[in-house]
Amino acid sequence: MTAPEPGIGGSLPEGLALEQRDDAPVRMYHVSKSYLAGTFALHDISLSFGRGEMVFLTGSSGAGKTTLLKSLFAAERPSEGQILVLGRNIARLEGSAIPFLRRRIGVVFQDFKLLASRTIEENVGMALDVLGTPRRENRQRTFQVLKQVGLQHRRLHHPLSLSGGEQQRVAIARALVNQPQVLLADEPTGNLDPELTLEIMDLIADAATRGTTVIVATHDVSLIERYGKRTIRLEGGRVVEDSPATGRAA
């Protein structure tokens, strides 16, 4: 598939598609990213993700899923192209504006990125601290979200004393706690057993029904099949497949 040009022109069906895109919280135009000269982690990617949309991002190891997600919260700058997230152009964003953008985006990192020196509660509350949330509210919301991922009883422990799957759930709780407008989850269930995977994915899907744009990178084919959401497949940094949600007409 070829990516549509940004702008206003085009035939009616194109125009409709563009209209949907124009207020989409996440839009990528011809984005390329090259870490090493001559190779591309992302290659000319144009995609748009609507409000309340939930999308699966799949593709083999090294296809560029993580890089795509990183570019959306300004952890990597694209080598080429424009990225609009919540109305801001990431390619042109000043360093000082990045934190404000990130506070509206929840991220589940592939490697969790929990602070070993802080308790679970503190790790999750961190996402509220940076917003200046009052103490009491912070504790309440942290407790709530930890309960949702089934870890409220571990809230005073430290990440290193948690199992892999428990750590992953803490990472998910931190991404959800401040009710972000965009939720990026990188392989969020790689360390969870099948039942927990469904529970957690339901939590994530819930966020989408509340209007959050959700992008989930995953290798789990059964998960993709089960949810029947829009699925984008990357291969060598290119979009090789963009199948709409099975609930909608193709």
Partner: protein, 302 residues
């Protein structure tokens, strides 16, 4: 307003948590800072005491002006009065011929020299003491010059060796204090900032993760600056404590030895102002060290 209070609370809490969660690193940093400041403090105490000694030591320095023979007392008094107004003169004491003879007998063993004399051949003289800051060759020169023209003054004894010796010693101490003090100050600055830097290196993940969850520049940096300041402050207080203990422990047993060159003056500890500067300096150094370390941290945006 409530939000500001919350943010300030959070910044402090983050700093305190940071200190608590990296207790080993923090305490290593605090110890290093304390040691550095102990050095600076010990040096200050030493120089302070040496200055005090030199002052007392130099207080014995005298220029002697001999009067012409037969000068009457009133005239001698007048001259003494005018000498007292010369710049750098601290005190003028008149010595009569009899006093001079008594002293001469005492200080030289060469009594034979005076045995054959019927009358006292020694003249009356003025003993001129200088202000501390004028106890130099130049200061002596100035007095010399002022006395030169005066009628009734026959000659001068400068105790040249004394002045030389004193001026040398005083310069030596001043120069050493200045040189070592400068090296010490720069060293303390670099050691403290380097230590805090090392302490922060081991916590880069913390900076990275906070930045990734959307911590602003302030939220990211202020807690670390606070941590550095607290570490510096603690180091400073610790240094004062160690210095005080060391001072008490050391000066007591060697009081006898000390009294030899301190006379009956007590060795003195840091002045209040000096101690305050040490603690404040620690805090400032700690903060500056943190700032330097943070400026070296490259954020998570490529």
């Amino acid at each position: 307003m409530n939000r500001v209070a919350t943010v300030i609370y959070l910044l402090f809490r983050t700093a305190v948590r940071g200190l608590a969660s990296s207790a080993t690193t923090s305490s290593a940093a605090v110890v290093t800072i304390a040691i550095t400041l102990v050095l600076v403090g010990a040096f200050t105490i030493l120089v302070g005491n040496m200055r005090g000694m030199l002052d007392r030591f130099g207080g014995d320095l005298r220029i002697t002006a001999y009067f012409e023979e037969g000068l009457d007392l009133a005239e001698a008094r007048r001259i003494a009065g005018s000498v007292a107004t010369v710049e750098g003169v601290h005190q003028v004491v008149m010595v009569t011929p009899d006093e001079a003879l008594a002293r001469f007998r005492e200080t030289t063993g060469a009594e034979a020299l005076l045995e054959g004399l019927a009358s006292n051949p020694l003249p009356a003289s003025l003993e001129i003491a200088l202000l501390p800051e004028h106890r130099t060759e130049r200061g002596v020169g100035r007095v010399e010059q002022a006395l030169e023209g005066l009628p009734g003054i026959d000659g001068l004894a400068k105790g040249q060796e004394w002045i030389d010796g004193y001026a040398r010693a005083a310069n030596l101490v001043r120069f050493a204090a200045l040189g070592l003090g400068a090296v010490l100050a720069v060293s303390a600055l670099m050691i403290v900032s380097n230590t805090i830097r090392l302490a922060i290196y081991s916590r880069e993940d913390e900076l990275d993760i906070l930045s990734l969850v959307g911590a602003s520049r302030t939220f990211l940096r202020v807690p670390f600056l606070l941590e550095g300041t607290i570490q510096g402050l603690t180091g400073g207080l610790l240094a004062i404590l160690v210095l005080w203990l060391g001072f008490v422990a050391f000066t007591e047993p060697i009081r006898v030895g000390l009294s030899f060159f301190l006379g009956n003056a007590a060795p003195r500890f840091l002045l209040c102002g000096e101690a305050a500067w040490l603690v404040l300096g620690g805090a400032i150094l700690g903060m500056m060290g943190s700032a330097a370390a943070l400026s070296g941290w490259r954020g998570t945006t490529g």
